[in-house]
C-alpha cells in the first residue's frame, strides 16, 4: 500500500469546497440508494405484493364463490388487504438503516432530514404501493367487482396507499431501534389509517353501485396532502429522538 500519498490527498482537499448540493441532488441520491438496496433485496417489495394477492384470493375460498356475495365484500376486502400489505412492508423502512449505522450518518449529514425521509417514503411507495395498485384490477375481477368501479378502485388506492406510506413512516420512525416492533407499529399506525380505509372502501363501494364517489376521493386527496405536509417533519423528528435514544 502506498502510505505516502500526500500529493493525492492535497488534490482531494483542494477539490472539496463547502458548496451545498441542491435539494434535487439529495432527493435523487436517496431515491437511487433506496432503489439499489431494494433491487438487491427483492423480498422487501415482493413480500407485500404476495401477501396482498394471497389474502385477497383466499376470500372466494373462505366465503364461498357466490358472485353477489363477493361483489358486495370486494371493496372492503381489497382495501383491508392493501392496508395490511402496506403496514407489513413498513417495518423495514428505517430499521435496516438503523442497524448498519447509516441512519446516524444520514442524521449527521447536515442535509434536510425531512427531505431524506420523503425520498425514502416515495421509493418505498413506488416499490410496495404501486405494485398493489397495478395488480388490483386483476383481483377486483376475481372478486366480481363491477368493471366500472375499477378506475375508482385504482384512483382510491393511488391516493390511499401513498397516504398510508406517509402515515406509516411516522410509526416506523417512532419504533426505530426497538426489537419486535411490529405490533407496536400497527397499534400506532392503525388508528391514523382508519380514515383512509373508510373513505377508500366507501369510494369503491359507491362506484360499484353506480353512485358518485368524487366526495370520498377528494377527502382521500385531502388526507394525502395533509400527510405529505406533516409526515416527513414528524418522522424526521422521531428519527432524531430514536437515534439519540440508543448507545
Amino acid at each position: 500500500m502506498n502510505l505516502d500519498n500526500s500529493p493525492l490527498n492535497a488534490t482531494v482537499s483542494a477539490e472539496v469546497d463547502s458548496t451545498t448540493v441542491g435539494i434535487l441532488a439529495v432527493l435523487g441520491c436517496i431515491l437511487r440508494r433506496e432503489w439499489l438496496v431494494a433491487l438487491r433485496n427483492p423480498g422487501q417489495w415482493v413480500n407485500p405484493l404476495l401477501f396482498f394477492v394471497v389474502v385477497v384470493s383466499l376470500f372466494p375460498l373462505g366465503v364461498g364463490p357466490s358472485p353477489s356475495t363477493l361483489a358486495s365484500i370486494a371493496p372492503g376486502v381489497l382495501w383491508v388487504s392493501s392496508l395490511l400489505a402496506v403496514l407489513l412492508s413498513l417495518g423495514t423502512l428505517f430499521d435496516a438503516d438503523y442497524a448498519d449505522g447509516t441512519l446516524e450518518q444520514l442524521v449527521l449529514s447536515g442535509q434536510s432530514l425531512p427531505l431524506i425521509v420523503l425520498a425514502k417514503v416515495l421509493m418505498h411507495w413506488l416499490l410496495s404501493g404501486l405494485p398493489l395498485l397495478l395488480v388490483s384490477p386483476l383481483l377486483a375481477v376475481l372478486l366480481n367487482l363491477p368493471v366500472g368501479a375499477i378506475p375508482v378502485l385504482m384512483l382510491s388506492l393511488l391516493l390511499g396507499t401513498l397516504a398510508l406510506s406517509l402515515i406509516g413512516a411516522i410509526g416506523a420512525a417512532l419504533t426505530v431501534g426497538l426489537n419486535q416492533s411490529g405490533v407496536l407499529l400497527s397499534l400506532l399506525v392503525l388508528p391514523l389509517s382508519v380514515p383512509v380505509l373508510i373513505f377508500g372502501s366507501s369510494a369503491v363501494a359507491a362506484a360499484a353501485s353506480d353512485l358518485g364517489s368524487s366526495g370520498q376521493l377528494m377527502i382521500l386527496a385531502a388526507v394525502l396532502l395533509l400527510a405529505l405536509a406533516l409526515a416527513p417533519l414528524t418522522a424526521a423528528l422521531a428519527l432524531r429522538i430514536g437515534v439519540s435514544g440508543s448507545s
Binding site: L3, A25, E104, S109, G110
Partner: protein, 207 residues
C-alpha cells in the same frame, strides 16, 4: 474550538460519565481511553449530537452544538462504531452517497477522488463488489475512505482501528497526521497505542 463542559450521564442509578470537561484546540488529537463499558462510545455520540447527556453541554466555537447544528454538522466527520455503509451497495456506491450528502456535487472529479481514495486503501479491485461480501477489515476500510473525501475540521472516530491490519493502522496514523497538519482536530477512541511522530496525542482516561 470544541469544548465539553460538565457532561454527566446516568444509566439507571449508576453514573456512567461523571462531570467530563475538556477542550480540543485546533490541530490537536485527543485519545479517549477507558475499559469496556466506561462510556467512550456514549461520550463520542453526545459530542456528535446523536446522544443525549443528562447534564452539561458541548460547545463548538463557543456556541452549544444544538443551537448551531447545521454549521457543526458541516464541520464534523463521525465514524461510528457501526461501519455506516449499506451492505447491499458496492464501495463506490456507498462513497458516492456519502459525497453527495456531505455536499460534493456528483461529477467526474468526485468519482476520481473516490477511486483514488479506494486505491490508497488497496480496495480498488473490490470496488464493484457489494460490501456485505467484503471482510470486516475491508468494510472498515470502505468506511475510512470517507476521511479522504470530506474536509471536516473535526474528526470523531470511534474505534477506527477495529479489525484493521498493520498497514491499515499506519494508514490511519498517516491520515491523522495530515489532518493535524492542515489544522484539523481528531477525537478518537482506540485501545491500540497510536504512534505518530509529528503529533502529540493527548489522552483522557474515563472510568
Amino acid at each position: 474550538m470544541l469544548e465539553v463542559k460538565g457532561l454527566t450521564v446516568w444509566r439507571g442509578d449508576n453514573v456512567l460519565l461523571n462531570d467530563i470537561s475538556f477542550c480540543l484546540d485546533i490541530g490537536s488529537v485527543l485519545q479517549i481511553q477507558g475499559a469496556n463499558g466506561s462510556g467512550k462510545t456514549t461520550l463520542l455520540r453526545i459530542i456528535c449530537g446523536v446522544g443525549l447527556a443528562d447534564e452539561g453541554d458541548v460547545y463548538w466555537h463557543g456556541t452549544p452544538i444544538h443551537r448551531n447544528r447545521d454549521q457543526f454538522n458541516d464541520a464534523l466527520l463521525y465514524l461510528g462504531h457501526k461501519a455506516g455503509i449499506k451492505g447491499g451497495l458496492t464501495a463506490i456506491e456507498n462513497l458516492r452517497i456519502f459525497c453527495t450528502l456531505s455536499g460534493r456535487t456528483k461529477n467526474k472529479q468526485t468519482d476520481l477522488a473516490i477511486e483514488s481514495a479506494l486505491d490508497g486503501l488497496s480496495l480498488l479491485s473490490k470496488a464493484h463488489i457489494a460490501c456485505r461480501h467484503l471482510s470486516a477489515g475491508q468494510q472498515r476500510r470502505v468506511s475510512l475512505a470517507r476521511l479522504l473525501l470530506q474536509t471536516a475540521q473535526l474528526w470523531v472516530l470511534d474505534e477506527p482501528l477495529t479489525s484493521l491490519d498493520k498497514a491499515g493502522l499506519s494508514w490511519v496514523e498517516t491520515q491523522i497526521a495530515k489532518q493535524v497538519a492542515r489544522g484539523g482536530s481528531v477525537l478518537l477512541t482506540t485501545h491500540a497505542p497510536l504512534n505518530i511522530d509529528t503529533v502529540e496525542v493527548g489522552t483522557l482516561e474515563l472510568g
